[in-house]
Every structure is written in C-alpha cells, then in structure tokens.
C-alpha cells in the first residue's frame, strides 16, 4: 500500500504542501524573469513533480530503512532514483517550454529555462529526497500505529484466554471428590445427596457466569466462595471451619471475577485438608480510603512436602493483579509457623 495514494485526505495535504514549494520556486526565478513567465513555467512543473515524487513511496517500501537493510544500498538507490526522476522532470520541462513558446510566444520561457536548467535539476533531486524522507516517516508512523493496534488486540486476546483458563480452572479432583460424596450420601441421606447436587450445580453455574464479567462485586465473589466451602464441608465435616470479617464498604467494591476463589480453594486443598484436626480459614476484607484489602489466612502443615505447596494458582493471581492494576495492586504471601496468609491489595472501585 502506498502511504499517500491510499488515503485521499493525505494526498490532498501532500499536494497542498507542494503549493508553497511551487510558489517559492516561482519567486526564486522571478528575480530573473517576470512573474508571469516564472509562474507559467514553474507552477505546472511543480504540480507534475509533486506526482512524480509519489514514486518515492514505492521506492521506500522496497528499500526500507530498518535493521535488516544495508544503508549504503538504500543511499545509492535513492541518489540514482533522484537523478533519474529529476532528469525526467527536466525533459518534461523542455517539452513544456516548447509548448509554451507555441501557446504564448511573447514569454521568454525558453531563455530562462535554458539558463536555470542545471539548478532546477539539483533542486528536483533535493525535492525528491525530501519526498522520500516524508514517505519514510509516514511508513514508520503507520508501522508504529499498526504495532500499537496489534498490542491492543493481543492484550484483549490474552484477557479473553485468561478468563477461559480461569473458568477451566475448576479442579477436576474437586468434582470427583464431590461426586464421590454424593454417591456416598445417596443411600445414607438422600436429602443431603440432593442438596449436594444442587450446591454443586449452583457453584459450577456461578463460576461460569461470574467468569464472563469484567468486574463483579466482592459480595458476589464471596457468595461463590461460600458455595464452594459448603460443598467442601460436606466432605471434610467439622475439620473445615470458616470465619469472615468484612465491612459492607468493602463488599460493595468491584473486583476481577474469581480473584479470591483460588485463594479459598488453596486454603482448603493445601491447608485445612492437609491437617488431621483440620482448622479455621479466616477471610477478611476491609476498605481503607482508596485501597481494598482482602486477606485469606489458613492453618497449614509446616512440614508438608514442597510439591504440595500452592504454586500455580498464586502465580496466576499475582499475574492478574499486576496486569490489571499495575503498581497499584499487590499480593503478599507469608507463611510463618503453621499459618499461611495471602493479602491482596487493589484500588477500591465501586459501581457507578
């Protein structure tokens, strides 16, 4: 695609830019000849040259200035091209002079042109280079715009992929264990089995629904965690205890969906369920001015094998917080003794 010809607005601007050049040339020549003579000779020639210089666009495409290109080759090509185009221009000028002498024999164009031919040739070459520079700039500008557009597209794609990954993150073992619990309950307590089925269906549906949003309220996120914890309580019984401290100002805040859910899952899978006596998961959320702080704390076995330690979920969480909030979001992970704590701080947003 030609950087100027492909856009009508740009072409108009480009031709407009040639007007002062034509006038300047005319003014330069008018020192020697009368105004009408200079104008009759040079204004049409300027317009012709404007179109001829558009060829620089194709040249610049074929010989780009970038890391791969050899600079000297591009320079030689530009010098030769400028000389050829300018020579062609002078030839066209020669014909125009003949035509003018025929149309208006009283204008002394022939003499003036013959006198200034060499100077015009040099000026023509310089102008062609100017056009080349303009084309190079336009090409670079287009490339940077395209790169920017691609970056935006890419970030949208990544976000999309990330959400899909999040929604697919439902741990299959959680499902299998839950189904096993249902299988166990069907004979002993059919009502509980049905309740468990409904809870599970609710949890799955909500995970998919919330995951499709860009932002959800923290209250919704906590409601999802509640369903998850209720299902896990059927399995783990009294080993799983939960406390929550939240203020309504915090739960009204908006958060990326499924931000806290992986933390709660980790607290169960890598924390409480790895303890013989179980323990209490403490979930807290508070809002201090512009910052929303969410903390999930659980007891853990300090001697647990390293491979059982939460890794992937936390890494993903950190990445999400960084990509969405930059320096304003932090994730703090601490473990001391038998206590594992994750604190997420993000800017407090509320629904408009």
């Amino acid at each position: 695609m030609h950087p100027i010809l492909s856009d009508r607005r740009r072409l108009a601007l480009y031709l407009l830019g040639w007007l002062p050049i034509g006038l300047l040339l005319t003014a330069g020549l008018s020192a020697r000849a009368s105004w009408p003579t200079a104008a009759a000779l040079l204004l049409p020639l300027s317009i012709v040259f404007a179109f001829m210089s558009l060829n620089a666009g194709y040249l610049c495409r074929v010989f780009p200035i970038d890391a791969r290109a050899t600079l000297w080759r591009t320079l030689i090509v530009q010098v030769v091209a400028a000389a050829m185009v300018s020579a062609l221009w002078i030839a066209i000028g020669e014909m125009w002079v003949r035509a003018l002498t025929f149309i208006a024999p009283d204008l002394p164009v022939g003499v003036v042109f013959a006198e200034r031919r060499l100077l015009l040739f040099v000026i023509g070459a310089l102008l062609f280079w100017l056009a080349s520079i303009l084309h190079y700039l336009l090409i670079a500008f287009e490339a940077s715009q395209q790169a920017e557009r691609r970056a935006i597209e890419l970030s949208l794609l990544t976000r999309d992929a990330e959400l899909k990954a999040l929604r697919a993150q439902i741990d299959p073992h959680f499902l299998f264990n839950s189904l096993h619990s249902i299988s166990a309950l069907t004979t002993v307590d059919p009502a509980a089995a049905r309740r468990m089925c409904l809870l599970l269906a609710d949890f799955l549906r909500e995970t998919l629904r919330l995951g499709a949003n860009n932002r959800i309220s923290l209250a919704d996120e906590f409601a999802l965690a509640d369903r998850f914890l209720e299902i896990e309580r059927v399995r783990l019984g009294s080993r799983l205890q939960v406390t929550r401290e939240t203020d309504p100002q915090a739960t009204a805040c908006l958060v990326p969906p499924l931000l806290i859910q992986p933390l709660v899952e980790n607290a169960v899978v890598h924390g409480v369920s790895q303890l013989i006596e179980g323990g209490t998961i403490r979930i807290a959320a508070s809002r201090g001015g512009p910052t929303l702080t969410i903390r999930v704390e659980n007891p853990c076995d300090p001697d647990r094998p390293r491979r059982q330690r939460a890794g992937l979920g936390l890494d993903l969480l950190k990445k999400r917080v960084v990509t969405q909030f930059g320096a304003e979001g932090t994730v703090l992970v601490e473990e001391d003794g038998g206590c594992f704590r994750v604190e997420v701080r993000i800017p407090a947003e509320v629904a408009a």
Binding site: N177, H180, S181, A184, L185, S273, I276, R307
Partner: protein
Amino acid sequence: MSPIQTVIVDDEALARGVLREMLAAHADVEIAAECGNGFEAVKVVSEMRPDLVLLDIQMPKLDGFEVLELIASDVTVIFVTAYDQYAIRAFEVHAVDYLLKPFSPERLAEALDRARARIAAKEQVPDGLVAAGRARQTPLERILIRDRADVHVIPVDKIDYLESQDDYVSVKASGKSFLKEQTLAELETLLDEDVFVRIHRRYILNIARLSRIELAVKDNRIAILADGSKLPISRSGYARLKELLK
C-alpha cells in the same frame, strides 16, 4: 475359609462410609478397622496385620504411599483415590488395584476378586519393589521412621547428619536421633546431593550444618557442626566435601 480381614483408610468419613456400605455385600470380607489418617493406619495395620487395606492416597501428614512404605509388605493393598496420576506408581508398589472415586459396587467387586486371588496365592511383594516405587520421588523431602506404632516424619532440612549402624541408619535431627531400617548407601542415593554429602564411610552430613573443618592429625580432618558435634572426615569424603563447597 477365614474371612478377609480388611482395614479402610480414608480421611473423609463419607468415603469410609461408602466403602463400608459396599463391602457389606461381600460376606467373606470383614472390616477389622477404619482409620481417618495415615498415622492411625500405620499403627493399626502393623498391630492387626490385616489381609487387605483399602487405602486413600491424598491424606494429611502421611499420604497413602508413605503409609505403604511404613507398613509390612505382606498386606494386599487397593488404592482408592480421586486422582488418576498415581496409577503407574501404585502398580509399581504392587497394589492389586487402583479405584478411582467415585466407583461403582461392580468395580469394587472386581478389585476384591483380584485381592482374593492375591491373598489365596499368598504372594508377597519383595521389599525392594516397595522401595523402588518410593524412589521415584527423589530427592527425598522427608524421611519417615516407624518406631513401633509411632511414626516420625522428619523433613530433610531438619536433619543434621546420618550415621550408619549396620543395617540401620541413625538420623540425627534437632538434637534427637531416630533409627531407620535402611542402609546408609540406599539413603545416600535418595537424598539431594547438593545438600547431603558422604563425608565418611559411616556419615552423611547436611552441608548447611557444617561450621568448620579442623585438621586433627596429618591428613585427618574433623567436621565441626553448628551445634558443636564432631564427625570424622575420610580422605575421599574430604574430596567430595571440597567439590561441593567449591
């Protein structure tokens, strides 16, 4: 024929319940005990010596494989788990079957048939095979020691040094020592070689505990540990130590 004495091991009450319920249909299977965690399982199985153990894998503190490592190898084991990624390892340690939760009564019956065949044949699993299955998890992250019915779990970073005592290894950790039935050479292959170094025919040292090396007599060096204990260093041991400290 005497009934098959069976122990159920699962940390979830519901999971134990479903096994109990399904096993009721098999007249020749008698539930001798139910355990809610690995420690209990090691204790109960070594005391009762049942014929069959239905063993969950994901449990707190001690997982199913660790339980198996600690109990006698003449017991037949069926693993019961929601995780399919352990299947290969399960057969390497000679489990008769591997049940994936949730399972049907028919699938359990099939597993029991295999167990019956194994018990009738009185097949025994060679000790080495159990160890081989265990060896896949190298480097070792913790050492398990059974002291009669008690089980000690010692994370390797808590170990100061290991001392060979014939067919046993004395594990010194946090001022205590524990006796493990394993040779020093065997343990050496399982430990992280960047942390543990054999400084002597009879000693493996946790390099993090080394305070300094003293020259006792000509060519005769002694390792002084952070807590002040002294261990002899052999000539080849010194070479290995130097290599590691480089």
